[in-house]
């Protein structure tokens, strides 16, 4: 099962995401921003980092990379896409997900092991969780405050499209404690926490993140 990870100029967590896919039992496939070739992958991860230096706005320039044209078309046809941190920001800038990520309330870069609650386990990336599961996964960002209009928030909440919510203290001022969302179809998921950094007890606070990667492999088999 081939899962792609895109490297943009300034991506940081691409190698961790590739590794997580391998540990979950998939075949990790590196993809490059400057090519529109998806190399026959069956799902794709947009990793964390500071693509194009995050100049202008986070994800604003990456959204126009050649690989994104292919991903946007594929995503509109149900192809599973996971955006992590900077990847989430790119998905919002691409309008594959609603809302936007803005500067953290308090202006601090927040790096911590974050308690989270699973709100939606019907996406290909979260199907291995149970609704209500408590996870601990690292967050590390300066612009992770999820903002959207009141109508968009109502739409997300009423359609059950909030995937992860911050448990305990809201670390960044995100509306409704939102840590991750999905699109109407459920194939595109964006999360601020880094599941690829919580896959082994030696290096992570938990192994709670691995289920993102095993979930998508199971979803692809079952399809």
């Amino acid at each position: 099962m081939r899962i792609g990870v895109v490297t943009f100029p300034g991506s940081l967590d691409d190698s961790s995401a590739l590794r997580a896919i391998r540990l979950a039992g998939g075949v990790p496939v590196p993809l490059f921003h400057a090519s529109d070739d998806l190399k026959e992958v069956e799902a794709v991860v947009l990793p964390g980092g500071f693509s194009y230096g995050d100049y202008l706005r986070c994800g604003a320039i990456s959204r126009f990379a050649p690989i994104m044209s292919s991903i946007i078309i594929a995503a509109e046809h149900g192809f599973p896409v996971l955006g992590i941190c900077n990847g989430f920001q790119i998905l919002c800038e691409s309008h594959l997900l609603p809302g936007a990520l803005t500067r953290n309330q308090g202006l601090h870069f927040v790096c911590t092991d974050q308690p989270l609650t699973v709100e939606n386990n019907s996406t290909p990336w979260t199907s291995g969780y149970t609704k209500g599961d408590r996870l601990v996964i690292p967050i590390k960002n300066g612009e992770g405050s999820f903002q959207a209009s009141a109508e968009t928030l109502h739409e997300l909440e009423s359609e059950g499209r909030v995937v992860l919510r911050y448990a305990g203290t809201n670390p960044n001022g995100s509306k409704n404690d939102i840590a991750g969302i999905t699109n109407a179809r459920g194939n595109v998921v964006g999360v601020m926490p880094h599941p690829e950094q919580a896959i082994e007890s030696l290096t992570g606070p938990s192994t709670d993140g691995l289920t993102f990667f095993t979930s998508v492999l199971h979803s692809l088999v079952g399809r």
Binding site: A60, G99, A100, N104, Q147
Partner: protein, 81 residues
């Protein structure tokens, strides 16, 4: 040569922690005039000659597509001599 200026501001309903930090710093320096501060971006785009209506329409399009994110920001295009 003329300069086309694009000003981008966060929408009023979007939290602006940078503006808030500036608003909090002003009184520490004895400046007590501000009831609130919002911080934005300014792009100065040089073009040859007087900008045509067509060029301005192109800049509007660029401002909407790249320079601003209409989900959270508004923009204003103007010409400066």
């Amino acid at each position: 040569m003329a300069t086309i200026v694009v000003e981008v501001m966060l929408k009023p309903e979007i939290l602006d922690p940078q503006g808030q930090a500036v608003a909090a710093a002003l009184p520490r320096l004895g400046f007590t005039f501000a009831t609130s501060v919002r911080q934005g971006k300014r792009f100065e785009i040089e073009v040859a000659g007087t900008p045509t209506a067509e060029q301005l329409a192109e800049v509007e399009k660029a401002a909407e597509t790249l320079l601003s994110n209409p989900v959270i920001e508004t923009f204003l295009v103007k010409v400066e001599a």
